[in-house]
Amino acid sequence: MTHIIQQVLNALQLGSVYALICLGYTMVYGVLRLINFAHGDIFMVACYISFFATTFFLTWGHLAPTTTFVLGMLLAMMLTALLAVIIERVAYRPLRNAPRVSAVITALGVGIFLENFTLATLGPEPRHMPPLVPMINFNVGGVTVSAVQVVIILVSVVLMVLLDTTVMKTMTGMAMRAVSYDRTVAPLLGVPVNRIISVTFALGAAVAGAGGILYGQAYPIIDPYMGIRIGWWAFIAAVVGGIGNVRGAMIGSFILGFIEIFTPVFLPSSTYRDFVAFSLLLLFLVFRPTGILGQPAMKKV
């Protein structure tokens, strides 16, 4: 029993990291109807940014690990947001009125470009993220809870609540929903569409940036191709939860977290996890393409 609770905790930890990445997919899709295939690689870049930032603060700045963690997270969030805004400005905005296929291919291309550019400039060798959260384990009724797990789950929940409030309660969030609802009418009502889209990209990437440093605390090895797998999983989570829906993204991410942790329990090896995840994706696409919380799209003639 304690073993299962332990695994549930691991699944929650993983699920919250996926949720942070998944939100970027789902917000961009909601506003632009674009699957931003580059998002997983933006997350990878975020991991590298936080790696360099934290190493710099620790070795040259001689800062305390906690300060480094906070500063590193803020820096990663800002720089990742900047990167996403630049990508949107350079690669996606000129294609906004082109066939959607062009934009999707561009997104794929941008993602692969980021991977291989990182590979070519920084080299293929994996790097180790410095540990910043103290290695303390709490014992709660026989279940070991590490400080890293507590930090990851707490920070993710705080960020998710913040994001949900932004989308649901603020003027910017209302404008986002307006653009998502109808991009031709929204500007007529005074919504600055370009700025809202930039803000959406920035928010999604900033959350992924926070995800980058959190992920690095739990799984400290980072390499240029790490974004592919995590990106896909977060993307599947977005589809399962209902792409374009912020709360659905969170539900989907936790489902995917559970799949990843519990696949080796039911199947002979953990290498089946991709198979299970993509089969789930296919099942959802065939039988319920709008996901758990998505609204069915109307076909316009």
Partner: protein, 320 residues
């Protein structure tokens, strides 16, 4: 006439290597170009002519490659290899076509980016499944095939793929496929059987991808699941389609040839080669989204009847 010239060139592809007039490296490049033409023209059927967005073409290639390799290594006695090679390739193509049928069914309900995800998931599932089947080597890959692919076979299959897909595009079903690209709902209203057209397009595209996979496997004599991953293989095919031009057979030939040759020339760049490829794709999408030959065709590839009809139409509109 044009096709007869192409057929007449067949002995050249047989003689050149026999007489030692072409070095093995150039032969290899020629064969890669041929295989890439087959892949490009078949993906163009789905992406260019039908206007759907399939990104998992390497998945079909993987099915063809593994099925044909298993047949030549385990099933048929080795000495007969060269004689049954075409049959083995067709078997691989048929297996891929069945996979194409499986992917075509979700395309009835989903379109656009959702269908892109379906094909993408298919590609990932094929790769992941192959990695988990120990019998075919799992992630280590499968080997032991003889080098049965030669210039002549690649040439024959390239011509066959071009001929079949050109004839399909200009057939009644091809009209249906084009009408799906222009407006699916309108096509349905004028009684185009869109489901049939979609199934046919997917199955034909998958069949030729499977053939290309078989040729590829018997050229390299080694395949592993990673050779058929979304990146680089499927992406490469996409680049070739969009570089050459959507909805154009001549464009596919051009795109595959230019891309393969340029990639060979860029070999000294090492890792940076894979930075150049996605960058090319993005720049293409930004500045010339329909590619070099986009929606245009090389005249000898258009059937004579079609040309005559167009001329009549042109004259009628001139008379108005």
């Amino acid at each position: 006439m044009f096709w007869w010239i192409l057929v007449a060139l067949l002995p050249v592809t047989l003689l050149l290597p026999e007489l030692g007039l072409i070095n093995p490296y150039l032969q290899q490049v020629f064969m890669y170009v041929g295989i890439n033409i087959i892949l490009t023209v078949s993906l163009n059927l789905v992406n260019g002519y039908m206007g759907e967005f399939s990104v998992g073409h390497a998945g079909f290639m993987a099915v063809g490659a593994y099925v044909s390799s298993i047949l030549t290594v385990w099933v048929f006695p080795r000495p007969y290899g060269p004689f049954i090679f075409p049959l083995v390739l067709i078997a691989g193509g048929l297996a891929a076509a069945v996979a194409g049928l499986v992917v075509a069914i979700p395309s009835f309900r989903t379109r656009g980016d959702y269908l892109a995800i379906v094909t993408l998931a298919f590609n990932m599932i094929v790769k992941s499944a192959l990695e988990n089947i120990e019998a075919v080597g799992g992630p280590r890959g499968f080997m032991g095939m003889d080098r049965l692919t030669n210039m002549a076979w690649v040439y024959v299959w390239t011509i066959a793929a071009l001929f079949c897909i050109r004839n399909f595009v200009y057939s009644n079903y091809g009209r249906g496929v084009l009408s799906i690209r222009e407006d699916e709902i309108a096509a349905e209203l004028v009684t185009v059987n869109t489901r049939q057209c979609k199934v046919l397009a997917f199955v034909i595209a998958a069949f030729f991808a499977g053939i290309a996979g078989g040729l590829f496997a018997h050229l390299l004599q080694f395949i592993n699941p990673r050779s058929f991953a979304l990146f680089p293989k499927s992406t490469e095919i996409l680049v070739m389609v969009y570089l050459g031009g959507i909805g154009s057979i001549a464009g596919s030939v051009l795109g595959a040839t230019i891309f393969t040759v340029v990639l060979e020339l860029l070999r000294p760049l090492g890792v940076w080669r894979w930075v150049v490829v996605p960058l090319t794709l993005v720049l293409l999408m930004l500045f010339r989204p329909t590619g070099i030959m986009g929606l245009r065709e090389f005249r000898p590839l258009i059937p004579a009847g079609e040309l005559a009809r167009e001329e009549v139409k042109a004259r009628a509109s001139a008379a108005d």
